[in-house]
Symmetry: C2
Subunit: 156 residues, 2 copies
């Protein structure tokens, strides 16, 4: 006697479920194959990536906070670890004593270069195995339009 509990079946619910699932699968694969073996967490890696892309390889904590979607406290603890590992250094900001720059070290850049290469390989395998180049771009474009995802949403 299986009552039917859920009646609504909006297409948004499917898209949502698949989005969540895709993220979980991809994240776990990257952690298992690339990051954990090298002692990095997912956010460690993303932080290094953002620092590498940033001007002069440095970011304010509050910007990292927005980019990684972490709270300020999360960023503090995250950077604690990256500093202990020697991948990031603190640098006082000349014009504003409140801000501390997080600066990518050479060692951090080297690590990122190495890890990033494998990361990209895994990524390529993940997407290319299922979609052709056009579809990957289409997917990317569609995602970009979603609120908070596109370039209008944060410093870049």
């Amino acid at each position: 006697m299986s009552r039917q509990v859920l009646t609504t079946q909006a297409i948004e619910l499917d898209a949502f479920a698949r989005l969540m699932r895709a993220q979980s699968v991809l994240r776990r694969e990257l952690e298992a194959e690339v990051l954990s073996p090298r002692g990095l967490t997912f956010n460690d890696f993303e932080a290094l990536l953002h620092l590498a892309k940033a001007e002069n390889q440095r970011l304010r904590r509050v910007d990292l906070s927005a980019l990684l979607m972490l709270t300020p406290s999360g960023v503090t603890r995250l950077l604690d670890g990256l500093q202990a590992a020697g991948f990031v250094e603190n640098k006082q900001c000349a014009g504003d004593a409140r801000v501390t720059w997080a600066v990518l070290t050479d060692e951090g850049a080297q690590t990122l270069e190495c890890v990033g290469a494998i990361h990209t390989e895994v990524l390529r395998g993940f997407f290319r195995g299922a979609l052709d180049e056009q579809d990957i771009e289409r997917l990317s474009e569609l995602l970009e339009k979603l609120p908070g995802v596109g370039s209008g949403s944060c410093a870049g």
Copy 2:
């Protein structure tokens, strides 16, 4: 003197970054608008959702584990909370003494119905504000093809 650290710029990297970001944004919005105010975590809600869709509103822990992409221990603790809240009950399996069914209670179903309605509203607003119906379906289809996302990957 900004050295260029990252040279590779694969399209997969963009798709990846946006996928991660879209998930974060959406998850946080749902948590803030819908779930946290009602004392539910994201996985609480997803668990209830899966239970509601399942035959007889019940699932084995190991199946929930696969559906939510949690470890067995995570599922145990998750269900602890849902049982304490009265949304889920344990039921012994007649044929196999190892398994404990997690069964959705009436109260759980009611809660889900209420929360789910708002959830769907927020979801609709999120997607519809940026994409038309066709694009949402396209997005959903593209995501579905990714490894581990489509129906071939787990019980459904």
